[in-house]
């Protein structure tokens, strides 16, 4: 029997900017629903979300422009509710319903 908890979903707003949106169907803003817990029953984290995005949202085959060695590639900033994820626990941050997660490619042109 499927319990209510297993069915529960988190609504997350995922945004891409600085050119990263080109890897995600040229769409800057995605509203997605993910489970509240992972396969081990633990609350889902940003690390889970990143894997989820690679598997389910990213159509572009160049995964290495987003994830390198199962980590966000250097040159991409991750902002959790408009704050650098380093202030929030990085990939271990437990996602809350309604969170806004922004991935920004740092620009170098000038």
């Amino acid at each position: 029997m499927v319990t209510a908890t297993e069915n529960a979903q988190l609504r997350v707003v995922v945004e891409f900017s600085g050119g990263l949106e080109m890897l995600f169907s040229d769409q800057k803003r995605h509203v997605i629903s993910i489970p509240t817990t992972d396969e081990n029953g633990k609350p889902v984290t940003v690390a889970y979300l990143i894997e989820y995005l690679c598997k389910n949202v990213m159509k572009d085959s160049r995964k290495e422009l987003f994830v390198l060695d199962s980590q966000i590639r250097p040159g991409i900033l991750v902002l959790i509710n408009d704050a650098d994820w380093e202030l929030e626990g990085e990939e271990k941050y437990a996602i809350q319903n309604g969170d806004n997660i922004l991935f920004v490619s740092t620009l170098h042109g000038g």
């Binding site: 050119g19 422009l65 040159g75 408009d82 704050a83 650098d84 490619s105 620009l107 170098h108 000038g110």
Partner: protein, 304 residues
């Protein structure tokens, strides 16, 4: 004849009156700008508008570093150069425009790229630096030099229809201390892999997008200079600067978003506690910026 009793000359009151009357600016603010020396690294899409508004505002001395010459393909966005100056060093072309805009400012052109060897010599003569370059190699070099010489740094970038802006080392703090604002390496400790980099030539850039970033850069520089050393003790601890994200997509309106970045990194390669970075190590080449940034850079750098 009565001697002139005012802190500014008559022509300065005339020229700068419209900014002096701004609440919080005043004659003191104008004197502060006049006493300031600002270096712009890059005389391209960011440097052109940034330099124009800084010269207009009456900065005392402006230095421009750029080893490139003006090309026709620059002119859609590098609006202080001109068709008649194609082939002229950008630093000199930009200063030609600035000198006619405001002859009261002192200008110095450096018709060379900034290198680990010349960086100390050049940057040490200024109070604040604007990073208007277009490659990670120069961005890390400029930041490291600003850490070592304790200069605030206004860093901007643009590509396609987007731009980013952050004020670093503000307030300045000494190397190894946790006081003061973070440096470029605190915020971006690892450069992006070379293959993920898109240059302006490849990716293209909308003139008004990079132009907006350059004008904003001048505005932030003016604010840092007006503030001077007037930082409260509480503002020096755990400084978390804002990164401004700008976007002007061709099929939509403009947007700007401000996100909160981290403060100084204890283990920062440049400004952290055990940092081995020094003016000597910079000069002797033991920090290889080109290799650090994945082997691209140097000759292929084109300032937007």
């Amino acid at each position: 004849e009565t001697p002139w009793r005012w802190p500014l000359k008559a022509e300065e009151y005339d020229r700068y009156g419209r900014q002096i009357i701004l609440p919080g600016f005043g004659t003191d603010g104008q004197l502060r700008l006049r006493a300031s020396r600002v270096l712009l690294v890059g005389a391209g899409g960011l440097g052109c508008p940034a330099a124009a508004y800084l010269a207009g505002a009456g900065i005392g001395r402006i230095g421009i570093v750029d080893g490139d010459v003006v090309e026709a393909s620059n002119l859609h966005r590098q609006i202080a150069h001109s068709t008649s100056r194609v082939g002229v060093f950008k630093a000199e072309s930009l200063i030609a425009h600035l000198r006619d805009l405001n002859p009261l400012v002192q200008y110095t052109a450096y018709t060379t790229h900034l290198t680990p060897q010349n960086a100390e010599e050049i940057v040490s003569q200024y109070d604040l630096v604007l990073d208007c370059t277009d490659h990670p190699t120069s961005r890390y070099l400029i930041s490291d030099t600003c850490v070592l010489l304790e200069k605030p740094l206004v860093s901007a970038s643009a590509l396609r229809t987007d731009g980013q802006l952050i004020v670093l080392n503000a307030p300045v703090g000494s190397q190894g201390s946790m006081k003061g604002g973070p440096c470029y390496r605190c915020v971006f400790p690892v450069p992006p892999p070379a293959e993920s980099l898109t240059s302006c030539g490849e990716g293209g850039v909308l003139g008004p997008a990079v132009g907006t970033m350059g004008v904003l850069q001048a505005g932030e520089a003016i604010k840092v200079l007006l503030k001077g050393k007037g930082w409260l003790e509480s503002e020096v601890e755990d400084v978390r600067p804002s990164l401004m994200l700008f976007s002007s997509p061709l099929l939509g309106g403009v947007s700007m978003r401000t996100v909160r970045m981290r403060g100084r990194r204890k283990d920062c390669f440049a400004c952290g506690e055990g940092s081995k970075l020094s003016l000597a190590s910079l000069k002797d080449g033991s920090t290889d910026y080109v290799a650090f940034c994945g082997g691209k850079g140097g000759a292929t750098v084109n300032v937007l």
